[in-house]
């Protein structure tokens, strides 16, 4: 069933991709890639330094002050979702059948759930009326998971090109990682 969903998604995008023509012009792809890298730096710079603060780096800085950087990390994330979508909408099969892309999405989801856990569990201790300078233990764990997840997202993203799907032969896994005919 997952295979059918993947095939349907690729077909749906291929039959009606509004951005493919634009992305196939000479410089569009490299420029969008560069923006994807700029967004990545913004995301890691802002979210990574906040995570490091939770873990105890620059511990004299109020956590709430450091949190002011987060909107810039979210801006980087938004830039990368937009530019990332442009790639997927142009060459859907190269991503939807790519095991490295599947792992990238998995760790993006982990990073997302992990970030929501931070606001759900540690908001009051960190931003409340009597904020702590030393983040609670749980927040530190979340920060460590966040750093690892984003690093893995970067590695998986960079690896996509080395796991381009070839034609399907033999056994197929839970998700298609090859081009069905």
């Amino acid at each position: 069933m997952l295979h059918a969903a993947q095939i349907w998604l690729v077909a749906a995008i291929e039959s009606h991709s509004p951005v493919a023509t634009l992305m196939q012009t000479a410089w569009a792809w490299p420029i969008v890639e560069s923006l994807h890298f700029v967004g990545l730096c913004l995301l890691v710079g802002a979210i990574g330094s906040f995570d490091l603060r939770l873990l105890g780096v620059a511990r004299r800085v109020p956590i709430a002050s450091m949190h002011r950087l987060i909107p810039w990390g979210i801006a980087g994330f938004a830039l990368n979702v937009s530019t990332g979508l442009l790639f997927v909408l142009t060459e859907p099969d190269q991503y939807i059948y790519n095991v490295s892309f599947h792992l990238k999405l998995l760790f993006l989801a982990i990073a997302g759930v992990n970030a929501s856990l931070f606001y759900a569990t540690s908001y009051r201790q960190v931003f409340g009326t009597a904020p702590r300078l030393d983040a609670p233990r749980r927040a530190k764990t979340i920060a460590l998971v966040s750093l690892c997840a984003w690093m893995i997202v970067i590695v998986c993203g960079r690896m996509i090109t080395f796991y381009r799907p070839g034609p399907c032969v033999g056994e197929r896994g839970v998700l298609l990682t090859c081009e069905p005919d």
Partner: protein, 163 residues
């Protein structure tokens, strides 16, 4: 220069970088290069944003605590970058965009060191120093954006792959 390039490309290290089927060879080095970029350019950009008025509640001197991470990213990329260069020396050294990338990184790092010196000097809040810092921050952001773009364009602008 060609004899040198031929010699470098036939070295054992170059052949390992480009020819090894191991994911730790070329793909692994590229992945490390992306992580180093995120750490160096990312933390530099955050410091620049702070100088431009974001997160004013964070004292500038406290940003110095993140300095080892920035330098860690820089050296990670110096090493992984040299490995990539040993792998494909002709591809990089015959492309003007490669020299532009190096120049932009050099300017960005010199600016970073200047910013750090002004902050360490403790007079960063004086109006004149604040103005200088803002100008340096904008130049730094432009340089990092340019270096990242130039780096990505290396895959599209090279004229010769091997000697």
């Amino acid at each position: 220069m060609d004899p040198f390039l031929v010699w470098l490309e036939s070295s054992a290290l170059s052949e390992w970088v480009t020819g090894s089927p191991s994911m730790l060879a070329f793909p692994g080095i590229l992945a490390l290069h992306a992580i180093g970029m995120a750490l160096a350019a990312g933390l530099a950009a955050v410091l620049d944003l702070r100088l431009l008025g974001v997160a004013r509640g964070v004292p500038l001197v406290e940003f110095r605590r993140f300095q080892p991470v920035l330098w860690g990213g820089f050296w990670l990329n110096a090493v992984s970058g040299v490995l990539l260069l040993v792998g494909y020396p002709t591809k990089a050294l015959t492309n003007p965009v490669f020299y532009l990338k190096l120049l932009l990184i050099a300017v960005a790092m010199v600016i970073y060191v200047r910013i750090d010196r002004l902050i360490r000097g403790g007079d960063a809040t004086a109006p004149a120093a604040a103005r200088t810092l803002r100008r340096l921050a904008i130049t730094s952001l432009v340089c990092w954006g340019g270096a990242i773009t130039a780096g990505r364009l290396l895959a599209y602008t090279y004229q010769r792959l091997r000697a």
